[in-house]
């Protein structure tokens, strides 16, 4: 037990020692021209998050795009389809390509979702929720251990939105907390996903936050969605709502994070229109307590 506790403490310290990247943007091709041509001192972003799947089997144009982005920005690979929660295990071909891409980029960390995206040869097409059970935790930890055996860079895990609650013997907060401790990973806390789930499933986002291991929060996501049939949809199509900003302030008041990413996937505006949101996030980050090494 002493050895395990020491190992966990070492990892928390190494998470705290990750570089401070600042405020960034989920890269989409629509932003390419502005981001690549604008003088860096005028850029509203400090780093970019790239979607892994866009570069696993790249066309020459995508390969060239990746190179140009790497020359200008620190890139954080963000995976969608590793399917860490698949009970049938990981796709070895996908994992091999992913490991090669991450080795090429050599980022300070990379991220994936707490979900499954395929089963029985069926590609679900999006992030599907897991039940909050010990069995799901066992599957996740087994798959994450396999990934860590191939990829040296730290993996951080993202909470997803779920339309369908599969239940389980654990609360959502307890499930996330135990996963992070057992898998020894950092957390990519998606504030909009947290807000969306709280609203759609009737709980208080701040109460769930209290259950999470704060020292493991490495990065934040934020975005805005829309309502459909009384449910909030995490569409990444709107500016973030005020509730998400309040959650961001609550997190940043308590713990420094290493990076904050604005996501936009639909109704993508010019980069200049995103500046106010990026600037507001930057101001909140500056009010955060200084990063410290945790033991």
């Amino acid at each position: 037990m002493v050895a395990v506790a020491a190992a966990v403490a070492v990892t928390k310290a190494s998470l705290a020692a990750l570089p401070q990247l600042g405020v960034g943007l989920g890269f989409r091709p629509a932003f390419a021209a502005e981001l690549l041509q604008m003088p860096l001192e005028q850029s509203p972003v400090d780093f970019l998050e790239i979607t892994v799947e866009h570069y696993l089997d790249p066309t020459p144009a995508k390969r060239a795009e990746l190179e140009r982005l790497r020359e200008r920005f620190t890139l954080i690979p963000h995976g969608l389809n590793l399917s860490l929660g698949s009970a049938e295990g990981l796709d070895p071909a996908y994992l091999k390509k992913l490991a090669a891409l991450i080795e090429l980029i050599d980022p300070p960390w990379w991220s994936e979702h707490i979900c499954f995206t395929r089963a029985a040869g069926i590609e679900i097409g999006h992030l599907a929720p897991l039940p909050f059970t010990q069995e799901a935790l066992d599957v996740l930890c087994r798959n994450i251990a396999q990934v860590k055996g191939l990829i040296a860079q730290p993996l951080i895990l993202e909470n997803i939105t779920y339309m369908l609650n599969l239940g389980g013997e654990l609360s959502e907060g307890a499930f996330l907390a135990e996963l992070l401790e057992r898998s020894d990973c950092g957390l990519l806390l998606d504030l909009t996903n947290l807000h969306t789930n709280a609203l759609n499933h009737g709980y208080q986002a701040l109460e769930l936050l209290q259950e999470l291991p704060w020292q493991r929060i490495v990065q934040l996501h934020f975005a805005g969605g829309y309502f459909d049939q009384g449910r909030l949809i995490d569409s990444h199509s709107q500016p973030a709502p005020e509730e998400v900003w309040q959650l961001m302030a609550s997190v940043l008041e308590r713990t420094p994070v290493k990076g904050v990413i604005l996501e936009r996937d639909e109704q993508i505006p010019a980069l200049s229109e995103l500046r106010p949101e990026l600037e507001r996030a930057r101001q909140l980050c500056q009010q955060s307590p200084p990063s410290r090494i945790l033991g």
Partner: protein, 186 residues
């Protein structure tokens, strides 16, 4: 073991609209037909029907939005009919792999092309063929495509203009070589 079986059943329910409707209408009978074990049956029977349907619908909607981005000209031309046709087509499973959405769009273009009558919709046919070939050149690192178009497809105009489009990429080439050639009579 229960999670493995649960995920296998859920993946089918999420992506097969007819199976989902059957399950929602007769959950017990559907579990028997699917030969679901008792622990998994107990998990399935307490799921919210509205949440299950909403999630499955959201998956089809997400797939649709991706195809809209990949076939923008055809979508503009078909307008509302594009979505209706897609929802009918989307009974077919989503292709696998990192280029699944491009493959999905190519398969949907083929689905639409198969429904066109030869003497009509020649402008839509041109648009579908053009967008399909453009997607295929993103999917393949080698190959050859040759297509006759009846309209000024390169200018995105329905004005009659017969031309030949030719795309070629041989092994070792960095990109596609492309030729457009007006044909006599245009």
């Amino acid at each position: 073991m229960a999670l493995l079986e649960l995920q296998q059943v859920l993946a089918r329910l999420y992506t097969d609209a007819a199976l989902l409707e059957g399950f929602l209408a007769e959950p017990q009978a559907s579990c028997e037909r699917l030969q679901v074990s008792e622990p998994v049956r107990n998990q399935l029977l307490v799921l919210s029907a509205s949440e299950l349907r909403f999630f499955a619908d959201s998956l089809r909607q997400k797939r649709y939005l991706m195809v809209c981005k990949l076939l923008p000209r055809s979508k503009a031309l078909l307008a509302e009919a594009f979505k209706a046709e897609f929802m009918s087509y989307a009974q077919a499973p989503l292709p696998q792999g990192s280029k699944k959405h491009q493959l999905d769009a190519v398969a949907f273009a083929n689905y639409l092309l198969a429904s066109l009558k030869s003497s009509e919709d020649s402008w839509l046919r041109d648009q579908l063929l053009f967008e399909k070939i453009c997607l295929q050149t993103q999917l393949q690192e080698r190959g050859c495509f040759c297509q006759i178009f009846r309209h000024a497809i390169w200018a995105n105009s329905s004005k009659p203009l017969t031309s030949l489009g030719f795309w070629l990429r041989l092994p070792g080439w960095a990109g596609w070589w492309h030729l457009r050639l007006p044909l006599p009579g245009s």
